[in-house]
């Protein structure tokens, strides 16, 4: 790997549901578990509230990876939101992969409020999987001559 590539730090946008994954992320903090700083969290009320347009928009604005994380199936604070998310995210993931974007750039996880360690691991794994892919250029906005 060249020096430039070694310096490459993937930028991740992480959509976390307020009740489970954001709380899980807080628990990782309380437990002082260290993990890479590449993911900037955006807390939403529920994964069900995540429109596929957010994913496309994040990639369009240059995100190297997008993470969606919510409550485990059956545990959604709003009962059904994560079921709806499961379907929509599956579709957008399949579509992104279909046009030839590396499938590893989009990731979805279920992290509960008690899974601080898992949250840290999810981010760590994601960063490690993104590094060899290099910066995301396929969907990134390039306008003007």
């Amino acid at each position: 790997m060249s020096e430039q590539q070694q310096d490459y730090e993937p930028r991740i946008v992480a959509f976390l549901c307020k009740w489970c994954s954001s709380a899980g992320s807080d628990l990782a903090g309380v437990s002082r578990i260290q993990y890479p700083a590449n993911a900037t969290p955006i807390t939403v009320p529920c994964t069900g509230a995540i429109s596929p347009m957010y994913i496309l928009s994040a990639f369009n604005k240059g995100a190297d990876g997008v993470l969606v994380s919510g409550c485990h199936i059956g545990d959604c604070h709003y009962i059904e939101g994560n079921f709806l998310a499961r379907r929509k995210m599956h579709l957008i993931m399949q579509l992104i992969e279909f046009i030839g974007v590396e499938p590893n750039r989009f990731r979805m996880s279920w992290v509960s409020a008690a899974e601080g360690a898992k949250f840290a691991q999810v981010i760590t794994d994601f960063v490690n999987d993104l590094k060899p892919l290099g910066p995301q250029e396929k969907l990134k906005k390039v306008v003007g001559l």
Partner: protein, 343 residues
């Protein structure tokens, strides 16, 4: 074999009796053999109606236009509107009904079965005619018969029909008020999603080369959106230009428009547009193929929609346009929905 006179008589009859206020159908166009959409309000015009292999338009688009026109004029319809609908078009109408775009009693569906021969794809036909100019086309059993200056040309429908017709499972308008032609559901010419399967056999690199090439070529003319009956949104999320200002529009609404993409027709913005459209059509697209036919630069848009449709069918057991009271794909879920992609 459909007797064209039956269709004409039905239209004339309904218009004369005032049972419908207009009939949306096909008539001979001004360019050679091609049919064009027709809006008939006078019973005498009923004899203009045609039914031939060039009737590929999805006329349900005009039901949407009609509804928008009425809304704009703040009018309510005093009678239903009749529409000549093929199997694929009838499914589009079902989706529109599912989404309450109009009521079932507002539309009288005159179903016509393509009887399994589908409609012609001009681009496939051109090389077969070898430069000859066709002045008319007709159904004849499993063949299409074209009349040219050099005489009749008979071709097996299979060779020149649209790809979507080859793959079609349901060449019969299940939802109808009246129907003409035989039900040839079950005739298999090509595997459904044949083109998609072939495409997906390629690796990710090849797929990106293919798509990036096409995304570069897209000129964002929005013909695909304009011709699609499902794209009836007053303001498309990716595009603020068609923002309708109604009595209910507030200053806040105007200020809060989201600019998801830039207006320039460059690759990244085209991708966001086309993929958003594919997502929004997931579970709603009935593969009428008009988007691809209308595209002036031949972007293979159908592949994107087919990909979503295949996911819907195979992973979620979902069929678009199956029944008026049915669930919508993205507003519902099943316990069996795949979840192993989730860590």
């Amino acid at each position: 074999m459909i007797n064209l006179q039956d269709i004409r008589d039905t239209a004339r009859d309904m218009l004369t009796k005032g049972e419908v206020r207009a009939v949306v159908g096909y008539r001979r166009g001004s360019r050679g053999m091609l049919a064009e959409p027709a809006f008939i309000t006078d019973p005498a015009q009923a004899d203009d109606l045609v039914w031939d292999p060039t009737c590929f338009h999805n006329l349900s688009l005009y039901l949407v236009e009609d509804r928008k026109f009425l809304t704009h004029l703040r009018k309510t319809a005093n009678a239903p509107i009749a529409i000549v609908a093929k199997g694929c078009d009838a499914r589009s109408i079902v989706v529109l009904l599912q989404e309450h775009y109009f009521k079932r009693e507002d539309v009288y569906i005159i179903g016509v079965s393509c009887e399994g021969t589908g409609v012609v794809d001009e681009r496939k036909l051109a090389p077969r005619l070898n430069g000859a100019h066709a002045t008319s086309a007709a159904f004849d059993g499993d063949d299409f018969v074209f009349t040219t200056a050099e005489g009749e040309k008979r071709l097996s429908a299979r060779e020149v029909m649209a790809d979507r017709c080859l793959e079609c499972r349901n060449p019969f308008p299940k939802e109808h008020n009246a129907v003409f032609g035989e039900d040839k559901t079950g005739r298999q010419l090509a595997e459904p999603f044949a083109a998609l399967t072939k495409f997906e056999a390629q690796g990710s690199g090849e797929r990106w080369d293919f798509w990036s090439h096409h995304f570069d070529r897209c000129i964002r003319c929005f013909a695909c959106r304009s011709v699609c009956p499902m794209c009836y949104c007053d303001e498309c999320v990716v595009d603020s230009i068609t923002f309708p200002v109604t009595a209910e529009t507030t200053a806040e609404d105007k200020a809060n428009r989201i600019r998801w993409i830039e207006r320039s027709a460059v690759r990244s913005e085209n991708i966001t547009y086309l993929m958003t459209r594919a997502m929004h059509l997931a579970g709603r697209c009935t593969d009428c193929g008009e988007c691809e036919r209308a595209c002036p630069v031949n972007v293979p848009i159908r592949l994107l929609n087919n990909k979503m449709e295949r996911q819907a069918r195979e992973k979620f057991g979902f069929e678009p346009g199956a029944s008026i009271g049915g669930p919508s794909l993205v507003a519902s879920f099943l316990d069996s929905d795949p979840g192993d992609f989730i860590r």
